[in-house]
Symmetry: C2
Subunit: 223 residues, 2 copies
DNA sequence: TGACACATACCAACCGGTCGGTATCTTTCT
DNA sequence: AGAAAGATACCGACCGGTTGGTATGTGTCA
């Protein structure tokens, strides 16, 4: 509430312009960041515009200057989430640079497993949470979440495709379908973790997923 | 909105009292039924008490006569959901009476697969939807959803246990863990279906699950 | 006659969104 | 160079409607 007051005079981009890689700390970016955090914690409908503004340290006027509506913010945040995932999951981690495709794929799953610790709201999926609430109420939000999920699946499918190309697969499994399955298991694991209030059950689930993918690519089985 | 008005004078239970198996058509039961349907459609926070009352054809006075709060209704509905699932999934369907444990387990998965058609809100999980929104905001709701999920998993684990007893399992897999995994895949499949607006992707996911369970119980593999 | 199962009317808080106004930065014209 | 004009980025009071919840009245049945 009073955090707004402390920020009315904020630093200009002129001084300390050395930060090139750091995320833009403008109001728009802060609003999106706050929305993602708050929605992951309490859901989209339960999060008010005022709450997002307070968390971002900006006023309501700023909110509606940058976004036409709460829905528009949700759509923009879903887009931002796609980029965050691209960076944090498909660019920065070490698994990306593993040479062998199967090792790389297993490295991806292992990496997702390693993310499952700490508070539940810190590892769960923003768009997965939001689409559950909005799929019937707002088609723009639904479509934006779908786009984010699809982008992840298609990105992952590249690595699965490479694995199939190198090792083959003794089953009628399409790379994209398997990518969606990997994501579905994670989404389901998040729900379990939310219900139990702990990431342990989610890890157990990803262990099953790991075993499934290992079995899929293990040679010497019939069919 | 005006649906309430049309239902103010409703039939008493005295006439046509022959129905023994039919669900109790009293206000409390109607409220729970309406809550489940509406929450599955638009989520818990986005569903107002007035909306539930209108859908149930009762007044707000009746609502707060039967339930102390919206939260209390949610807890009661989660309990009702457990019983609905017990009936519709673990009692009525034919798979329950298959003699061979492995065939029975696969019959269960096949049955869950066969449920994935029609409007998304008709096959998705009420407690899975609700726990996503309430896990941090209301511990009574979270606990009630967890109880429902746990009941399902424990019920399913009985059949998995029987399968392991009969056929063994060549992996370090606990029956209850596998039961939770089956449920997690379904929950994840629901999210995918909501994002895509179609059950097709959910069916694809359950096909992967089916393959995994088949592979787990296929003899002649190493380890 | 009194407990039960509602119905009706109402309330304060909160909701998403609007609006008139202001400070500052950028472009254009002379 | 410097004034004028316009665009951008807010600010925060305010609005009508909705929210979960309450208080009180009323008909019915044991």
């Amino acid at each position: 509430m009073n955090a707004t007051r402390n920020m009315t005079k904020r630093q200009k981009g002129t001084a300390a312009a050395g930060s090139v890689v750091a995320p833009a700390r403008n109001s728009r970016a802060k609003l999106i960041e706050a929305a993602i955090a708050t929605v992951r914690y309490k859901g989209f409908s339960a999060t008010s515009v005022d709450e997002i503004c307070a968390a971002a340290g900006v006023t309501k006027g700023a909110f509606f200057h940058h976004f036409a509506s709460k829905e528009a913010l949700a759509v923009a945040a879903a887009g931002a989430w796609t980029e965050i995932a691209e960076q944090r999951i498909f660019t920065v981690p070490d698994w990306v640079r593993i040479a062998d495709p199967l090792d790389r794929l297993m490295g991806h799953i292992e990496f997702r497993l390693s993310m499952l610790s700490g508070p539940v709201e810190d590892f769960t999926c923003f768009v997965g949470t939001m689409v559950q609430e909005a799929y019937n109420s707002s088609d723009p939000i639904r479509a934006a979440c779908d786009a984010s999920i699809t982008a992840y699946a298609e990105r992952l499918a590249e690595h699965i495709e490479a694995t199939i190309d190198t090792y083959g697969i003794g089953h009628d499994v399409a790379a994209l379908d398997l990518a969606y399955h990997i994501q579905a298991v994670l989404q389901g694991a998040f729900i379990m973790a939310k219900a139990k209030g702990s990431p342990e059950i989610a890890r157990e689930n990803v262990a099953h997923l790991k075993r499934y993918v290992e079995m899929l690519f293990k040679r010497g089985d019939q069919q």
